[in-house]
């Protein structure tokens, strides 16, 4: 029953229960001499215990304060909203097959204007009805893997996603699209880049910065871009499709290991770091921006390596950082530490002992830069040279986040320290670029 009251608590819940009213019913609330009539609306996330939300006849919601003298009467039963979906779109048999996997972060949804509830559209027919353009690009098979906010995705979920994608690929699809919340989308992209090797078809991650219920949402445009890439792109890599600019004009395709969320709210939040995006999609046309990519080849055999080991930490150095933070990781059984150092790859001298301890305890310690852009070089200053001497492994121009994911993945494959070190320095999924150009900032 409590779910019927969608979030109401305390005084408000008591009053509603007493009136035997349910969400969607028409009720009258009388406070002293003032009476309000309207539809009982579920409490919003911000709601408090002393207000009941009513939808007035005019369509507006208001919060009515509940006091001990408040009277609530149910004056009408709520009509259940009926949704008549548009006729099913015909799948065009000649079109390439694309599998869409939802992990959360709704890429399509519809609004129940009666109660204000936003419901995700997840099935293929839902997607077609909300984004009808999809039917002209591909035959879609939509599946829900989980419904998680992206901040709740862990390495265990990466494993599940990778295994699920692998299953789709053996099913003769031309490409896979994964819908995912944007906050940790970059990490998942990197994880899949290592877990899904030797891909025959593209695997495209997609998200949206403006929720799908609003007419201005970037979700549909991003999804169309992602499905286009999955269906037709000439490359077979893990990549991410999002807005290139604040305009709805073009979708940039970023390589999974080189992409980072760089803005809290803008549509073009994802940027390729230290490289250019691999492709751009405009008006459903794909333009490759690099010649350096793995070509699509349906005969290629996928190598699935989905294991990750979470005993890896990403530690950002800052002035005044207490080196016991590093010691804590040693004591707690961590196998690897990625340092986010300053500038070209430095940490202060007062951390050296802790780092030495870590290395002596057979913990992998590797260096990246907190500058976001650029390549580290630990040969320029003393401090860098000292760190190298301590056994810290320099990681070129890799993103700190990608380095962390990669090290988790490596420990998922092997615990042989020499092998780990070798893999860490090997360019497995284009996580390192050999050369950086001036426009790639």
């Amino acid at each position: 029953m409590s779910e019927e009251f969608s979030g109401y608590k305390g005084e408000a819940l008591k009053a509603i229960k007493k009136a035997e009213a349910e969400i969607g019913d028409i009720i009258r609330i009388t406070n002293n001499s003032e009476a309000y009539e309207g539809i009982l609306i579920p409490r919003s996330e911000y709601g408090d215990e002393r207000h009941i939300i009513l939808k007035l006849k005019s369509g507006y919601n208001i919060g009515v304060r509940i006091t001990s003298s408040t009277k609530i009467e149910k004056i009408g039963k709520g009509a259940k909203p009926t949704f008549k979906p548009p006729p099913l779109v015909k799948q065009i048999a000649e079109l390439p097959k694309v599998a869409i996997i939802s992990t959360g972060g709704t890429i399509a949804s519809r609004v129940d204007y009666r109660t204000g509830a936003v419901r995700p559209a997840l099935t293929a027919s839902d997607l077609y009805s909300v984004v009808p353009e999809l039917a002209t690009i591909a035959q879609i098979d939509a599946q829900i893997l989980f419904s998680l906010f992206s901040e709740n995705i862990t390495p265990k979920h990466w494993t599940q996603i990778a295994e699920f994608v692998a299953k789709q690929i053996t099913d003769d699809v031309e490409g896979v699209v994964i819908a995912h919340g944007t906050d940790t989308l970059g990490y998942t992209a990197a994880a899949l880049s290592f877990a899904l090797q030797n891909l025959p078809v593209p695997v495209i991650l997609v998200g949206s910065q403006r929720s799908a219920d609003r007419p201005s949402s970037d979700a549909a445009t991003n999804l169309i871009g992602a499905v286009t890439a999955a269906a037709k792109a000439p490359f077979a890599e893990v990549a991410l499709a999002m807005h290139e600019t604040p305009s709805d004009t073009a979708i940039a395709i970023h390589r999974g290991t080189k992409v980072r969320k760089c803005h809290t709210s803008r549509r073009d939040t994802f940027k390729s770091i230290n490289t250019t995006p691999i492709a751009r999609i405009q008006d459903q046309k794909i333009t490759m921006l690099t010649e350096d990519y793995k070509k699509r080849d349906s005969k290629r055999k996928l190598a699935l390596k989905p294991a990750f080991d979470e005993k890896v930490a990403l530690i950002k150095f800052y002035p005044g950082m207490n080196p016991t933070i590093i010691n804590w990781h040693i004591e707690n059984g961590y196998k690897g530490i990625i340092l986010e150092g300053t500038g070209l790859g430095h940490v202060s001298k007062y951390c050296f002992d802790a780092i030495k301890n870590a290395v002596n305890s057979n913990i992998i310690v590797a260096m990246t830069s907190q500058c976001i852009w650029g390549r580290i070089n630990m040969n320029v200053y003393d401090s860098g040279r000292d760190l190298l001497a301590l056994g810290v492994i320099p990681l070129e121009d890799i993103l700190p986040e990608t380095a962390t994911v990669k090290l988790m993945w490596i420990f998922g494959q092997t615990n042989d320290i020499a092998e780990v070190k070798k893999l860490l320095k090997t360019n497995i999924a284009s996580e390192f670029s050999q050369r950086t150009f001036s426009e790639e900032t």
Binding site: I41, I62, S109, R119, P215, S217, D248, T264
Partner: protein
């Protein structure tokens, strides 16, 4: 013919939108101003109609979307940030705006609600970057007095103003400027109980006066906009959106009643003629061949672009298309508006107005023959691309069918003469859902108590005070109260010693007359008006020259008052110089003064005025001369 509106059953409701004069926008910290310069930032968007659980989609919006309409937004850094671009979530509700809205609400005896919930009202014509307008109810159940009648105020809301349309390019791109987006608007909605055009005007004026009494609303054209809901029995509920000129309101209501009455009459006659909806078919004839040699420029141009002429038959409609609905507005005009909206065509031709526009009687005959038209049928034709022409004629057919039924429900836009044109179909039920990015705002009793304590004086109290304090007559007091200048008036007469009646008359009657003559009075700032009267007060400017100076300033926007006075050759001689001249004239006419004593004043004034060729302020000169003579003759 005088219409008895009450017997007719006219019902009018008003929704008045007024921009508030806050220091920042409603949901961000941008300046609530417009910019004239070229935009610094542009971006291109599409808005996608979202489906409601009820499966409702705004038909006009969906149509635009299917046509692939894109919106090019223009912005600059002073007036918009990422919030207006829909690239950042809204900031919390601007409490300065809430306070102004609550002040107005309390002045209308409305009941503030306990907790404000922001709603998203779906609007996907491009005027909102988000695809919805943020709006919230602040208070309910107020009232205003119009004469002896009490008009209930249903609700008072606060909402963000929309972006303003700056153009429409080819290739389906509409341009909007987002400077106006997010400026706080108060919306006052009356119950539909207004029964005559006159009463509508009075109700709007009463609401406007209360809003201005808060002292915190913007002024000038475009800062106040009214939506009018009009219905008569057997007619339809028509919404007229965005009327900016208050003076036009009674006329707009009058014309709308006329239009509905005429449409009802046409419908009755069509039925009598046995016109049937089912007989109007979406059967379009390609009649391009008939016009191969045409002298009609519009068709010629279309054919040169390889476009088509498409025609449709309206059985038993002959003569009806030229029937007038409002002054200079026929049923044909109404149908053409629909064709323009849905087909994006320039216009339509119909046989009721033929032969004309270079189309010959032979061509019309040929047309009738091709379409197999009977004597009492009308034919509508249009020259454009096949797609546009088809869409246009579909709209023509739909509108003609509605003419048989009566008055179609729709949203209309006002024209400068008071008539209205088709704007779009009426959107379905208000599609509002909660704005989840902004927490609800509590309105506590203490907060209301505080606002109530500092409530501005009510218009009627102010009216009495204006008469008592400034000795204005009733008419002038009423005029200044109803004008936008009542505050400025008081500022001026409090700080400058000029006749309040002069200032009041200028701010009301004179400005009204100037506006009527096409002078853009809003281009002169309050400060400039104050300066003008300051100059009058200290004798630098003559009362009679105020109007000329004002007109000059309205035409030279960035110029100063000094420049106006110099340019107009109105420089008066300063008080010190006047004193010197008076002294000189006295010395030169000692004998005369001895002889005629006080009676020499007239002659001396004549000499003084002549010597300065009118550049002396006579009031000032006369004052100084009088003082000096009195001294001398003591």
């Amino acid at each position: 013919m005088e219409i008895d509106y009450k017997t007719l059953g006219l019902k009018v409701g008003l929704e008045i939108h007024q921009q508030l004069d806050t220091s920042a926008k409603l949901f961000c910290n941008c300046k609530p101003e417009l910019f004239k310069e070229e935009p610094e930032i542009t971006f291109l968007r599409r808005l996608r109609p979202t489906q409601s659980e009820l499966g409702q989609i705004d038909p006009a919006a969906y149509f635009e979307f299917q046509k692939g309409t894109k919106i090019l937004y223009e912005a600059n850094r002073t007036t918009s940030c990422l919030v207006e671009m829909d690239e950042e979530p809204p900031h919390p509700l601007n409490m300065e705006a809430v306070e102004i809205a609550l002040t107005a609400a309390l002045m209308m005896k409305a009941k503030p609600i306990d907790q404000i919930h922001i709603m998203r009202k779906t609007v996907i014509d491009g005027s909102n970057t988000t695809g919805f307008q943020r709006t919230c109810v602040i208070a309910l159940k107020g009232q205003i007095k119009v004469g002896e009648k009490t008009i209930p105020i249903e609700h008072i809301s606060l909402e963000e103003d929309a972006a303003r349309k700056t153009g429409e390019d080819e290739n389906n791109i509409i341009r909007y400027r987002i400077d106006r987006l997010g400026i706080p608007l108060i919306e006052i909605a009356t119950a539909p109980v207004i029964n005559s055009p006159k009463e509508a005007g009075e109700a709007a004026l009463a609401i406007g006066t209360i809003l201005r009494a808060t002292g915190k609303v913007k002024r000038g054209l475009g800062t106040i906009r009214q939506d009018i809901n009009i219905s008569i029995p057997n007619g339809a509920l028509i919404e007229i959106k965005g009327l900016q000129e208050l003076e036009l309101l009674p006329l707009v209501v009058e014309y709308e009643v006329q239009r509905q009455l005429n449409l009802i009459k046409i419908s009755e006659e069509l039925k009598k003629n046995r016109a049937k909806e089912t007989e109007i078919k979406e059967e379009f004839f390609d009649v391009t061949n008939i016009f191969k040699q045409t002298k009609c420029k519009v068709i010629r141009k279309a054919l040169d672009k390889n476009q088509q002429v498409l025609a449709v038959k309206l059985p038993r409609f002959k003569g009806f298309l030229k029937r007038e609905l409002m002054p200079n507005f026929r049923l044909g005009t109404e149908i053409a508006d629909r064709a323009r909206f849905w087909g994006k065509v320039g216009g339509i031709f119909h046989t009721d107005e033929m032969p004309a526009y270079g189309i010959t009687a032979e061509e019309v005959e040929q047309l009738k023959k091709n379409l197999n038209a009977e004597e009492n049928d009308a034919i509508v034709f249009v020259a454009d691309t096949l797609e546009n022409a088809k869409d246009a004629l579909k709209a023509v057919v739909a509108r003609a069918r509605e003419a048989i039924k009566g008055v179609p429900e729709e949203t209309r836009a006002p024209n400068p003469e008071g008539t209205t044109s088709y704007m779009r179909p009426r959107p379905g039920a208000a599609r509002m859902y909660p704005e989840t990015d902004i927490p609800p705002t509590q309105i506590t009793e203490e907060y209301i108590k505080k606002i109530r304590q500092f409530l501005p004086e009510l218009p009627e109290q102010k009216f009495e005070r204006l008469i008592k304090e400034y000795k204005l007559n009733q008419k002038l007091a009423r005029q200044i109260l109803d004008s936008e200048y009542s505050e400025l008036f008081e500022t001026i007469v409090k700080e400058i010693s000029v006749s309040p009646t002069t200032v009041a008359a200028f701010l009301t009657e004179t400005l009204k007359a100037l506006r009527r003559d096409g002078i853009e009075a809003d281009k002169v700032s309050d400060n400039q008006i104050r300066e003008i009267f300051k100059s009058v007060g200290n004798g630098e400017l003559m009362k009679e020259a105020v109007q000329d100076v004002f007109i000059w300033l309205s035409k030279h926007e960035d110029a100063t008052l000094k420049e106006a006075i110099t340019e107009l050759g109105l420089t008066t001689i300063s008080e010190d110089e006047v004193k010197t001249i008076v002294e000189k004239v006295i010395t030169e006419n000692k004998g005369l003064i001895q002889e005629r004593r006080e009676n020499s004043f007239g002659v001396l004034m004549g000499i003084i005025m002549k010597s300065s060729r009118g550049k002396i302020n006579p009031a000032l000169a006369s004052k100084i001369l009088k003082e000096r003579l009195e001294e001398l003759l003591k």
